[in-house]
């Protein structure tokens, strides 16, 4: 058995991929992190609090993991979907009845989306309760709030895409709020001063029309599949980067408690 492993590990191809043997030395444990493009998001060493489940609950990581699941299942859905009024609903039916694993792919996308909204809120609660937004992490809290809003918007824009009654009316109710925007919505206060009508207000811009129709479907699709994920990924990069640059996972300050150490 060991001989076989040796043979696998000692050939040119294996070495070209993994470069070095893992020997459980300090050096190799560090190399496992910084030598790996995915893991090197982490520092080589972390405080114990970062590893304790009771401290972080793993909520930020779970949110990110849900985002990855949603990206993968979302791509699967995109292969079978046309964002047009005449096709969208039938595509969903087709996807469920004709495509192998269609039902479970769609279910995964739906439930992972709800799940992501839930865990991102719990993540915010955890960060608040541990006071982790305090110096030097004030800015990263702000980035996190924007990411929270983007999570809501990602889910919201996805609601319309199946083009069923549920999504159609949820989006109608949601975007009607836009019409009430002060100054910029046709039902909002002071909008008459800017000559705002149902045909040039915020809601019109959101929907690409005065009612939810084909343009709204296309806009939802592009916001949902391209624009918001793009912004989210950039902000996530900033968010994760700042976690490290601001000193890693928060921990009790030692400086003002010298007596105990």
């Amino acid at each position: 058995m060991n001989e076989m492993f040796d043979k696998v590990k000692k050939n040119l191809i294996w070495k070209s991929v993994f470069r070095r043997d893992y020997r459980n030395t300090v050096r190799d444990r560090a190399a496992a992190i910084f030598g790996n493009v995915f893991l090197h998001i982490h520092p080589v060493k972390v405080r114990e609090s970062a590893v304790k489940l009771r401290y972080t609950w793993g909520m930020g990581g779970i949110t990110f993991f849900a985002f990855i699941i949603l990206t993968i299942t979302g791509i699967v859905l995109m292969f079978y979907y046309h964002p047009t009024v005449s096709h969208a609903y039938e595509d969903m039916k087709d996807f469920e009845f004709q495509v192998p694993y269609g039902v479970i792919s769609r279910n995964l996308h739906r439930w992972a989306a709800h799940f992501m909204v839930i865990v991102v809120m719990i993540h915010m609660f955890r960060v608040f309760m541990t006071g982790s937004y305090k110096a030097p992490r004030q800015f990263n809290w702000g980035v996190g709030v924007i990411l929270l809003v983007l999570t809501f918007l990602l889910s919201f824009t996805g609601y319309l895409l199946p083009w069923d009654q549920l999504g159609f009316w949820a989006i109608t109710v949601g975007t009607n709020m836009g019409a009430a925007t002060p100054l910029l919505g046709y039902q909002g206060p002071f909008s008459e001063f800017l000559h705002i009508t149902p045909y040039n207000d915020v809601r019109f811009a959101l929907l690409g029309g005065a009612t939810v129709g084909g343009n709204a479907l296309l806009r939802s699709y592009i916001w949902h599949c391209v624009a918001i994920p793009l912004v989210s990924i950039i902000l996530m990069a900033v968010h994760f980067w700042r976690v490290r640059k601001d000193g890693g996972i928060s921990r009790p300050q030692i400086t003002d408690k010298e007596t105990t150490l």
Partner: protein, 294 residues
């Protein structure tokens, strides 16, 4: 089927049930750890995590991440096998469902529509929530409680945040999901929905309570005095109080930070106040102007 079972097992509502369970669990865990740390500090000992050493990322952290990822993946897969995502009838602009509900995470805001006009409930308040959240690190100048769970060191911050998060955000969502039926009327989960039901509940405006037409000049002035008085008085009264009792606290806060904090706080508190006015005193509007109503 029993309407209660029906409403909590509606596919999309299962997510809300899961949310209630998860949030309750983590709320309990957070406060439990906070009280434990408070106890430790009262005894003069260090809080949890204070003596933590550095550990290798590989493997302890990577291992736990992998385990969590697997557990989440298995959980979501089981959920997806057991419950199918809803796909209702094809969209039909001519058939309005009753009630037409926004996605569940916006139902707290939709619930506010009972108490506020859309420009407030749907635009101004959500904007202030986002702005207020981002402002938290800059207005909370208490340096304590950074990096560990505690309650005693940050009572007011935690109480305010918890009130906003658990009551005004999550509880209103739960009400919107489980307690609102046709016509956005209140239904207990075990009650059958009745689309024919009409509730006649005459509402009035604040100034009509003392016999002045709310659309008259007098009503306008009364409304303006109450609303602006609430905003201005709500900022000045605590200022006077702090000036007397905790002048050094005001000093530290500074005028700008104090004003922003207080504005956000009294705006938040205006929500439960308006709810009570509406539910107990049947007041619809406090202030009617030609442009907007509050």
């Amino acid at each position: 089927m029993n309407p209660f079972i029906e409403i909590i097992t509606k596919p999309d509502n299962i997510a809300i049930v899961i949310m209630i369970i998860l949030v309750s669990f983590f709320m309990a865990w957070a406060f439990l750890q906070a009280f434990q740390n408070d106890k430790l500090m009262a005894l003069g000992q260090g809080v949890d995590g204070e003596r933590d050493q550095d550990v290798d990322t590989y493997k302890p952290l990577v291992r736990i991440e992998l385990i969590i990822a697997l557990v989440v993946m298995v959980g979501l897969t089981v959920w997806s096998i057991l419950v199918d995502a809803p796909l209702e009838e094809i969209a039909n602009p001519t058939i309005t469902p009753n009630p037409a509900k926004a996605p569940w995470y916006f139902l707290g805001l939709q619930e506010l529509l009972v108490y506020f006009d859309p420009w407030l409930a749907g635009v101004v308040l959500p904007t202030l929530i986002i702005v207020g959240l981002i402002a938290i690190p800059y207005i909370d100048i208490n340096p304590k409680g950074n990096g560990y769970y505690t309650f005693s060191e940050r009572k007011y911050a935690i109480l305010t945040f918890s009130f906003g998060f658990f009551i005004l955000w999550l509880l209103l969502i739960v009400i919107g999901v489980f307690f609102r039926g046709p016509g956005w009327l209140w239904y207990w989960p075990w009650q059958e929905w009745d689309t024919q039901r009409v509730v006649f509940e005459p509402t009035r405006d604040l100034s009509t309570m003392i016999g002045i037409d709310s659309r008259s000049i007098g009503g306008f002035i009364i409304g303006a005095v109450v609303v602006l008085g609430y905003l201005v008085g709500g900022m000045i009264a605590p200022y006077k109080y702090f000036k007397k009792k905790f002048p050094e606290f005001l000093e530290q806060m500074g005028m700008i930070r104090y004003s922003i904090t207080m504005f956000l706080f009294i705006t938040m508190m205006s929500i439960p106040i308006k709810m009570i006015l509406r539910l107990v005193f049947l007041v619809k509007y406090i202030w009617i102007t030609p442009w907007f109503n509050v």
